[in-house]
Symmetry: C2
Subunit: 405 residues, 2 copies
């Protein structure tokens, strides 16, 4: 039995840090709001009697020892948010994991292996690309020095941002080495709600491709420059954005494509843009299809730029192949859901998650609960307490079973 009120009160309390006027919150990775959030959550870790560990990129975890020691069963996620974030994305997995441990402590339930709860730095990738940065570094998928040098949307590097809020700790890369990694998360999509199900048994995460494209044209007068003589970087960006949609339409589900950022220079009403920088987010559960989508996008983008007499350059902000979770662990999640009498289905994840970074290193799996209207990365993101409770109960069952009661 878990304490749902305590969990919901904590979600609400964390949501007040970086709260936005209309609801939701903005706690970009390594911002002052993130620092406040870290202090609140690690305070709860300590209040539960757990020792807090922090590594060089600011990942934090707390361990409850097991009877026989060894590698812990880790329940984790993240507490950073996008700029238009909700209260549940990431937070549920962290505070849900803490709730599982605290309930076990209160019930006097011991385990063979240690239990741990963790949150990882910059899962969202909204301020610094790539996403899943902290978990990627922790598990060796991403290089520490390369990540510390990444510069965010505000021109600040990860190393500078860590220093500014004092978020880095003494633990080295690899200090957290899970036996099992479990992540409870809101679905962030519409499937569970539409099908009236309690639980998504997550089979894997689709491949993610983030590219930043820069177009260099020529600033010129909007009134005097004949159309035939223009090198309009903004037009090329617009053509790429419409092409991204066309690719998603042509490939069909599960291919998705999003242009989330466009910045024009000089960005004035009567000046043809000399420069445009945009991002393209492409995702597919199939690596070959994802590569085909990338190939078409890059080829068409080059053609648009060439036709307008503009130069194009691009750099990869993030690139993760599709990940399949551990088959035995996924079966266990499904079996425990069944045993608890919860309605459920297997499904891939559309969003990236810290669990995918752990998957190559240790048995990893995820549990989804429904998102109202399928909405996330929006202040309206919502999952009712009655939908959260089954997810936390399932997380507890799977974690305690893996840790050995």
């Amino acid at each position: 039995t878990i304490n749902l009120d305590r969990l919901m009160n904590r979600i609400a309390a964390l949501g007040r840090i970086g709260a936005l006027p209309g609801g939701g919150c903005k706690r970009l990775a390594l911002s002052v709001e993130d620092a406040e959030g870290r202090a609140l959550v690690t305070g709860w870790f300590r209040a539960a009697g757990l020792e807090v560990h922090t590594d060089v990129i600011g990942n934090c975890w707390a361990i409850r020892p097991g009877r026989s020691g060894g590698a812990p069963v880790v329940m984790g996620s993240h507490i950073d948010t996008v700029a238009t974030g909700g209260l549940y994305d990431g937070v549920l997995g962290v505070l849900g994991g803490l709730e599982v441990i605290e309930s076990a402590i209160e019930a006097g339930t011991e385990t063979e292996k240690p239990l741990a709860v963790a949150f990882f730095t910059n899962e969202e990738g909204a301020r610094f690309a790539p996403d899943m940065m902290g978990s990627g570094v922790a598990q060796g998928g991403l290089d520490l020095d390369e990540m510390l040098a990444k510069v965010g949307i505000d021109g600040v590097s990860v190393a500078e941002a860590l220093a500014a809020i004092g978020a880095a700790g003494p633990d080295p890369v690899g200090a957290l080495a899970p036996d099992t990694y479990l992540e409870l998360h809101i679905e962030q999509g519409p499937v569970l709600e539409a099908e009236g199900l309690d639980i998504g048994v997550v089979t894997g995460v689709q491949g993610i491709s983030w590219t930043e494209i820069t177009i260099e044209g020529q600033a010129a007068h909007a009134g005097t420059t004949p159309m035939a003589l223009r090198h309009d970087a903004g037009l090329v960006a617009a053509r790429i954005a419409t092409e991204a949609r066309a690719i998603a339409d042509a490939f069909g589900p599960p291919q998705v494509a999003t242009v989330g950022r466009i910045a024009l220079t000089p960005d004035l009403v009567n000046v043809i843009p000399e420069r445009a920088v945009l991002t393209v987010d492409l995702r597919n559960t199939d690596e070959a299809r994802l590569q085909a989508a990338e190939a078409r996008l890059f080829e068409r983008a080059e053609a648009f730029a060439a036709a307008e007499g503009c130069r194009l350059s691009r750099r990869t902000l993030a690139r993760f192949e599709p990940v399949a979770f551990d088959a035995t662990l996924v079966d266990a999640v499904e079996a425990e859901a069944q045993a608890l009498g919860l309605t459920h289905r297997r499904m891939p994840s559309g969003a990236g998650h810290d669990a995918q970074m752990f998957a190559p290193r240790c048995a990893s799996a995820m549990i989804f609960v429904p998102s109202q209207d399928g909405i996330s990365h929006n202040i309206r993101e919502f999952t009712a307490p009655g939908q959260i409770a089954p997810g936390v109960r399932l997380l507890a069952q799977v974690a305690l079973a893996r840790a050995g009661r």
Copy 2:
């Protein structure tokens, strides 16, 4: 005979105020750089023995009295620039006009009517829309209070910006009432250079339509939100930008169309944009064609927004009908060019100019000199001294003739 060295030195000196690293300059209207530019230019007015007048919206002019008084023959333009501005746009008309007056003083040449040189506030419209704001107010085409309330791209109003740099003066609207208005300007387009001509005899200015369009969609997760459920405000903006180009292509010259600004919210790689604000600049020499272009753009924009389940709103930032200059004065410019042995052609102006605001009130005309590569609103904007001199000599001839030697 004019003093070309003095003129070129002054153009260079003014160009050092707000100078950009790669050349060119940024002296946005009513900025601190604009204030410095105003001080330099009015200092030259005073050094030439002229009394300086400033009106309530910061327009400045200096008069050399004529033998019989009355309304002056005004030579004017502007000294504000866009953010990627050159050294000649506007500046040439002001400092060329000063050169005409100073040369006349030095030569002891008197005129019946007074001669005046003027510069007008915020001709560019880059910081505050509409463009031609100062001249529009001076001549009653634009309402003073409405213009003082306009808010710029940085959130500052015209009234606040005037106060911040102390640019407003005591003269009321209408204090400058020209007998004739003459404006020397760089072409800012490629025609004169391509045809190897000295002078453009400007017959009028094409109609200008500036619209700001706001799209409201829904922020959502780029990875989890199925394409069919998206309300992507950025995609609608991109479709409008490509449609603007399609309209220019379909209508053919002289129709031009430019999307100079696009701003997305929240502008993050993995969030579907919930809001997009863009500007569309449409121009045509024919009012009916311009209206047809606007009608098609607005209709298609509504359709794009509706198809994506987004809301669209729009507001007019500037709207000027095509203007024809005074036929007698245009004939006089052409005849004087011929008499000076300059090669010339009649042409419309693609850019808006202060002269178009004076045209309904007094005989007005313009003289163009070539722009290298037709480039303007770009730091590479250039017109050689040898191309400037014929323009200033022609300005002097026409002005002195109109003022009565």
